[in-house]
Symmetry: C2
Subunit: 478 residues, 2 copies
């Protein structure tokens, strides 16, 4: 049997209440984004407009040429119940209520009324006070009814599903996530959870084959605490669940109450629940997204022994130090392995872990010879690299110098050589299922997208790289 | 009397040993960067080349038309002593020895020999095994002898000075720092500290009027521990010193030994030293740079009561929760202040701290009316905003939708309106010396550079924003 959320995320036709030709309003913006990538039918409803965003307009729901699979409501609060009732009468099975002004401002009665209508007409809805859903795997293009545009880089599929009690945290981040290479596949903003709980959404993502990693932003559990914990445990057994919880402090709870009517609980209770459920805890939103990024691409490490390969000394020290502070072991290599390494690395480089190849632009040493020796020695469980070798830095040097001496720079040849080496690196990593993370401060390096498209996660700072590795090690060594 | 480091950072003429016409070598790259912004004289020395990077070449130091103020050495290890001695004989007063292969690979004798030469000829040098120095305040353009280009955005001056036992951590970050708006003024990579210690550099930055904030990357103190601590205490009394220490763990110390011959010590001893000295501790490199950014721009908070103004609910909850977790107080506003706020904010917004104005694009409410009411109530010591209001998001929406309906977007008018409001905001903040930090996930927002040029620090994630505010509060409430 199909989960009802699977149906909400895969409509063939959508009726939209709240779009107009005033582009500055939220509803119009959301319809605009939806229209841009959704290939199913969109029916805007409006009392006076003739066309909205180029689409023919219907006066009221009853005028629609067919019963749509989904209704999206971004109307002023006072109109919501009336339209939901009309939709129920018509037999529209699902709704997403974006409109705010219910439980979160204290109007519990109106919120209960929405639920009564849904029950009467056998409807299910998400919200109110949410920002909608995203499904890049939709059967009709991309379903994205948030205000923010999003698409995956071509040829990629998103295996991360996001679940959030904040609309902002799953929509404002979209453009950043796209640039960052974070493979979001589906997102649900649950809002006030009047009719659909975060527990139900979690259970849906547990069952969903397209979801391989779950990221969750939580302000507090509203009801059915035991069921939430059970679902969390069952889900975390099947796939990684990364959670960022914000609602435990006085100010956090106060803010949560007026945000989605969530009253956050004692942080230590939540922490215990997460720990016992095998959930990965993220201290903040950045960690939430960076950790899901790591889980969405990296192979599982079998232990905590880390091999470090860098192209500079400071990052080598920093990575080694941070690893040990996080409980990861930067093991000292055996004499045998050190002797083998000494034969291939430059004399100024260190043959012990971390291997710092210094300013030596030998791509095959960095991406092939050294990591192969280290990995196949069996002395480490995962590899962390610092540095890449794209030509962006050189290109910028040339631009900075007004193109002077640009003939001296072998930029094209360089890219070609690195790319050839990288292709062999990808094959080696994925054939051997080697857990690899890369740290690189130069986020404009032109090889980053190539690395990430080939399922090698790249992070900016050593701090986050090490934290992500720790999350991987902890989850897979449960 | 001028500090000798002030003279090293302000040469009128530089002799360069180690540049050639092979642009892929480090030395050539460093000379290339130097040449691009340094307006003093550069004399490349080379046994066979006729011209290097367009500059006339001299066969040996003795052929130079004048005694240069500074000598930069990027030669193979075995040649360094010979050239340093020749420079000493000639009377060149200062050198920067970039060449590696001394103490950090165990050759203590050769390193000691460098020192003997310097003492004999009354020279001072930085290094060996360093990456050089940067001085954007140089009397002749920008002095940057690292491999990486750098310049401040036009019209800005850098009040941050960096001091580092890693060359990478002050040079690889330059392009990022430029984009990030981090106002680096001077940097010294100390390398193995054979002749010039990190303590001397710190003391120089303490005395230097152009240095208002100091950032330091530390792997370990090599000698004169007491003097270092005294200098640190004296410096932190005068100006904020942010330190990131990496060398205390077994792996960190092992890596440090082979990096700059630093043997890191017990982290808890360092932590105690930092705490007692009133130094701001950064857990990692990202914090080091983000904290210096905050100190370089923000006004000092007088206490830990934070007022939060946001344009969305999730970030409001997250910021409030993280503030309280870090010991900052998101105070509940008085009834009086709440009543005044209620009169001006939308009905769905919360009138208590944090103020979430929701998806309401009223710039004057956000940047003027609300913060003025909160600040002048005297109920908070600092303000944190989430969200900006540049038109970048709208512009991207239009691009994403292939420019469809672009006439509907009032982009130009919008930018103009926000900019007018912002100008009044800047004046208000700086006249009243209000500590303000802004968090904004959309790092491509076109108003970020405008904010930062007007001395309002902007951070991406709430996590870092809150940590930076904590650092400010702790430092200024000593």
């Amino acid at each position: 049997m199909t989960h009802f959320l699977d149906e909400i995320l895969n409509p063939k036709s959508v009726a939209f209440l709240g779009a107009s030709n005033n582009i500055i309003t939220m509803g119009t913006g959301q319809c605009y984004t939806l229209k841009s990538r959704f290939t199913g039918k969109i029916f805007p409803i409006h009392p006076s407009e003739k066309r909205i965003l180029g689409l023919p307009v219907y006066r009221k729901l009853e005028d629609l040429p067919e019963i749509p699979d989904l209704l999206i409501i971004v109307l002023p609060t006072r109109l919501v119940t009336e339209y939901l009732e009309a939709a129920g009468k018509l037999g529209i099975p699902y709704a997403i209520i974006v409109s705010a002004g219910f439980g979160e401002v204290g109007d519990v009665d109106s919120q209960e009324k929405l639920n009564e209508i849904a029950n009467e007409y056998n409807m299910r809805f998400i919200g109110p006070n949410c920002i909608g859903v995203i499904n890049t795997h939709s059967c009709h293009g991309i379903l994205n009814c948030t205000w923010f545009p999003f698409e995956l880089p071509s040829g990629q599929t998103g295996n991360i599903s996001l679940l959030s009690q904040s609309g902002s945290w799953i929509s404002q981040i979209l453009i950043w996530a796209e640039r960052r290479g974070i493979r979001i596949g589906k997102s649900i903003s649950v809002g006030n959870e009047a009719n659909t709980s975060i527990t139900e959404c979690l259970d849906f993502f547990r069952q969903d084959d397209q979801t391989e990693v779950i990221g969750m932003y939580l302000e507090g559990i509203k009801s059915e605490g035991r069921k939430f914990v059970e679902t969390l445990q069952a889900t975390a057994k099947d796939k990684p669940v990364v959670v960022s919880y914000h609602g435990g402090t006085t100010a956090g709870a106060r803010a949560g109450m007026s945000h989605t009517a969530s009253l956050g609980g004692n942080p230590s209770i939540y922490e215990t629940i997460f720990k016992q459920s095998g959930v990965i805890q993220a201290a903040n939103m950045e960690e939430l997204f960076e950790f899901t990024h790591a889980f969405s691409l990296a192979h599982p490490p079998k232990g905590n022994r880390i091999g470090l390969v860098t192209n500079s000394g400071g990052p080598a020290v920093t990575l080694a130090d941070l690893c040990e502070k996080e409980g990861l072991r930067v093991v000292s290599f055996s004499n045998d392995l050190q002797s083998q390494l000494k034969e291939i690395i430059p004399t100024v480089a260190s043959a012990n872990n971390p291997i710092d190849l210094t300013f030596d632009m030998n791509f095959t040493l960095f991406y092939e010879d050294v990591p192969k020796l280290i990995w196949h020695s069996g002395e480490v469980d995962a590899l962390v690299f610092y540095g890449i070798f794209g030509s962006s830095m050189l290109e910028r040097s040339v631009r900075y110098n007004h193109g002077e001496f640009k003939d001296l720079f072998p930029l094209e040849g360089m890219n070609f050589l690195v790319k050839e080496t990288l292709d062999r690196f990808f094959e080696w990593v994925h054939t051997n299922k080697i857990p690899v993370l890369i740290s690189c401060i130069d986020t404009a390096d032109n090889l980053i997208p190539i690395l990430q498209e080939n399922r090698i996660p790249v992070f900016k700072w050593p701090g986050m790289t090490v934290k992500a590795m720790k999350a991987l090690v902890e989850y897979y060594s449960r």
